[in-house]
């Protein structure tokens, strides 16, 4: 394999991406796939808001509405938000810690394909007899009663995608623990790396309960199990527990990386060291821990009893403390800084009030007695959109602008970026702020329509108009991306001029081996330190130039995943079609055969030789 840059045809490029194990290319694939699902989920959101724009609307039927809300929630959480965050984790984290790649490049690719095939599987339900319709939480009694195959697509699709996420989590953990460059101690790791670390730990422990819950659902629906069927001694509450044992940490899996992204942005554009670095790290870890101890606050109205409700209520409110620490640290980072209001910084500034609003309503719901009033109303919808859109989506959009030059060596237009921000930000508050009041006025969530005499017309209309604003913002973003890609003006490294961490020190385009020489890290904000000391190269090196060991590309992850994808259809039609069991067996056979191939074949990777490295200036 040659390390010399060369022009490739379309087929070769496609093959390269199908087989790649390079974390930077996998990041791009996560970005594209996640972006695609984000648009699909966004279209579903628009359909919801069109349906609810006026009373007694018949734009979609009640059944279709249920399918749309289910798929909107599921797609946005599992197939858009998480993969988009994975895109940035993959693109940035290894560079921030001075690693040449992630710990398990092969598994990295496998994780991506599992996510993609799982997502495609789930979305195929639209064309194969109807999408899942029991809400993204898919509570068992409801989902067991759902006719058709929608819920089966949900359970199997998420099982496949979830396996991918789990693999990615372990991969990031090992990468951060084992692959840090010399001098990169834990307490010198940038916040994006720290939050990736904690979020990955949450994935490690939160996804197995989901796997088991989905497994039970699959067994109950397709293979004669009785876990949730009370006539057979089952208990429907088990699903709720398993789902929320996963579901609550999931919220932190999403928001912690968002915190990491904003921590980077505040430090870069306030041109100041992050205030209270160690307390930030402490708060991150604490939030991660507490995230596991609060799941039953989603179930206050189930009737767990006052003792259980009290314990979970107190634990829930405790999370506000480390989160508050973070908010104040960010404010104090900006305080007295030399602020540059770029697009990412705009998002960061918009994030603070939005997220605080979402956090405060969260504490309100943490009070169990009040939750009885708020439960299942639009207040809840408003709350979680404030944390997820106001926190996670703003972070993703900010990161997209911030790290676009790192990933593609181009700058997104700042002007269009700011237009996107204002449309999206105003639209977001217009859509969701008013939903708090709809909730307080008694509008239940997940209703497909409402009556003209209920007094909810105006607020719902305003909410729908807000959604249009958000859509315009996203359209401008897409235009911005297209213009930037077509123009293709290279910008070099550190285009913001104030990069602080290692990823900005690498020459652009980032060589496929990342670091010609492993850097030596001499403190927090490595690149900033080197710049302050007038180091033109931006890095101090820990080793002389020598051969670099690289992993081989592999097509096996794709085939392995394809096998599971095929097996999924077999499981889905089990007991209904004659071909179901053979297809299930065939699919699993493909997967296991490719696993066997992987383990039997020697795969030692290859070396880039010192001489080749010396003549090279970068390039892919």
């Amino acid at each position: 394999m040659s390390s010399i840059a060369q022009k490739k045809g379309f087929g070769a490029t496609l093959w390269d991406y199908l087989t790649t194990v390079d974390h930077k290319k996998i990041a791009v694939m996560y970005l594209i796939a996640g972006g695609l699902f984000f648009v699909i989920g966004g279209i579903e959101a628009m359909l919801i808001r069109i349906q609810l724009a006026k009373p007694d609307n018949d734009f979609v039927s009640a059944g279709l509405f249920n399918e749309i809300i289910t798929m909107h929630g599921t797609t946005m959480i599992f197939l858009a938000a998480m993969p988009l965050l994975f895109a940035f984790m993959n693109a940035v984290m290894p560079l921030q810690i001075g690693a040449r790649d992630v710990a398990f490049p092969f598994l990295n690719s496998l994780g991506f394909w599992l996510f993609l095939f799982g997502g495609v599987f789930l979305n195929l339900s639209w064309f194969m007899g109807g999408a899942p319709d029991a809400g993204w939480t898919s509570y068992a009694s409801l989902s067991l009663a759902s006719p058709g195959h929608g819920i089966d697509f949900y359970a199997i699709g998420l099982q496949i995608a979830g396996a991918g996420t789990y693999i990615a989590g372990i991969n990031f953990l090992v990468t951060i623990i084992n692959m840090r460059a010399p001098g990169m101690t834990y307490m010198r790791m940038p916040l994006m790396t720290w939050t990736t670390f904690v979020a990955s730990a949450l994935i490690l422990f939160a996804f197995p309960p989901l796997t088991i819950g989905l497994f039970f659902l699959i067994l109950d629906r397709m293979f004669g199990g009785n876990f949730f069927d009370h006539t057979m001694g089952g208990n429907t509450i088990i699903w709720e527990h398993l789902f929320w044992i996963f579901g609550h940490p999931e919220v932190y899996i999403l928001i912690l990386p968002a915190f990491g992204i904003f921590s980077e942005i505040f430090a870069i554009f306030a041109r100041k060291r992050l205030f209270g670095y160690s307390s930030m790290v402490f708060a991150t870890v604490l939030i991660g821990f507490l995230g596991f101890m609060v799941w039953a606050h989603h179930m206050f109205t189930v009737g767990l009893g006052p003792t259980a409700n009290a314990i979970f209520a107190v634990a829930t409110m405790a999370i506000a403390v480390p989160t508050g620490m973070k908010i104040f640290n960010w404010l104090l980072t900006i305080w007295g800084g030399s602020i540059k209001v770029t697009t990412p910084m705009l998002y960061a500034l918009g994030f603070i009030p939005s997220f605080v609003a979402g956090g405060v309503t969260g504490v309100m719901q943490g009070a169990a007695p009040l939750d009885y009033q708020l439960h299942d109303s639009y207040f809840i919808v408003a709350h979680f959109h404030y944390v997820i859109v106001g926190g996670v989506v703003l972070a993703i959009l900010a990161a997209l602008h911030l790290w676009w030059p790192l990933m593609f060596n181009q700058m997104l237009s700042e002007t269009l970026g700011k237009w996107t921000f204002w449309f999206f930000f105003i639209g977001f508050h217009l859509t969701f702020f008013i939903q708090h009041f709809l909730g307080l006025m008694g509008m239940p969530r997940r209703v497909f329509t409402f009556g003209a005499n209920q007094g909810w017309d105006l607020f719902n209309l305003i909410s729908s108009i807000g959604a249009i604003f958000m859509a315009i913002g996203v359209v401008i973003l897409v235009v911005n991306i297209i213009i930037t890609v077509v123009k293709n003006v290279p910008v070099g490294n550190d285009p913001w001029g104030d990069g602080r961490t290692l990823e900005w020190a690498i020459p652009q385009p980032v060589p496929f081996y990342n670091f010609k020489q492993t850097p030596l890290v001499r403190g927090l904000d490595t690149f900033w330190i080197e710049k302050q000391e007038g180091n033109k190269e931006g890095m101090t090196y820990a080793e002389p130039i020598s051969d670099i060991h690289m992993p081989n590309n592999s097509f096996v992850p794709f085939v392995m995943t394809l096998g599971l994808f095929i097996a999924g259809f077999g499981a889905l039609y089990n007991g209904e079609k004659d071909w179901a069991v053979p297809v299930l067996v065939l699919g699993l056979a493909i997967t296991f055969a490719s696993m066997a191939v992987r383990s039997i074949k020697d795969d030692h990777g290859y070396h880039i030789h010192k001489e080749d490295l010396m003549n090279e200036k970068g390039g892919k």
Partner: protein, 111 residues
């Protein structure tokens, strides 16, 4: 990240010493195994002897816990250095396991 694992040739004395040490370790492992078998026997015997279930349940759970610790620390070498991070994650997993099982035993059926 160095590229070559340094090949280090042990001197004869060193080699014999380490071989001896490994043998001793292995003897320790067999002792561990004997203890594990013994604990298992007690557990089964206690059940077969039909003692009160309020006595048996805590005792056999304790025996199981001891056995698992032996398995982890000796058979899986977790007592050796280099296992700190791994053990941190495993113990945290075990803690969560405890919490989950506790809640399932209490609030799943009791309203």
């Amino acid at each position: 990240m160095s590229h070559d694992a340094q090949v280090y040739v042990k001197s004869d004395t060193e080699f014999n010493y380490i071989k001896q040490k490994r043998k001793q370790d292995m003897r320790g492992q067999i002792t561990t195994f004997a203890i594990m078998i013994f604990l298992t026997l007690i557990a089964f015997a206690a059940v077969a002897a039909d003692f009160s279930k309020y006595l048996i349940a805590p005792v056999i759970l304790l025996l199981a816990a001891v056995q698992v610790v032996l398995q982890l620390y000796y058979f899986m070498h977790a007592k050796e250095k280099n296992h700190n991070v791994a053990m941190f994650f495993l113990i945290f997993g075990a803690f969560l396991a405890f919490v989950f099982i506790l809640t399932f035993l209490t609030i799943i059926w009791w309203g």
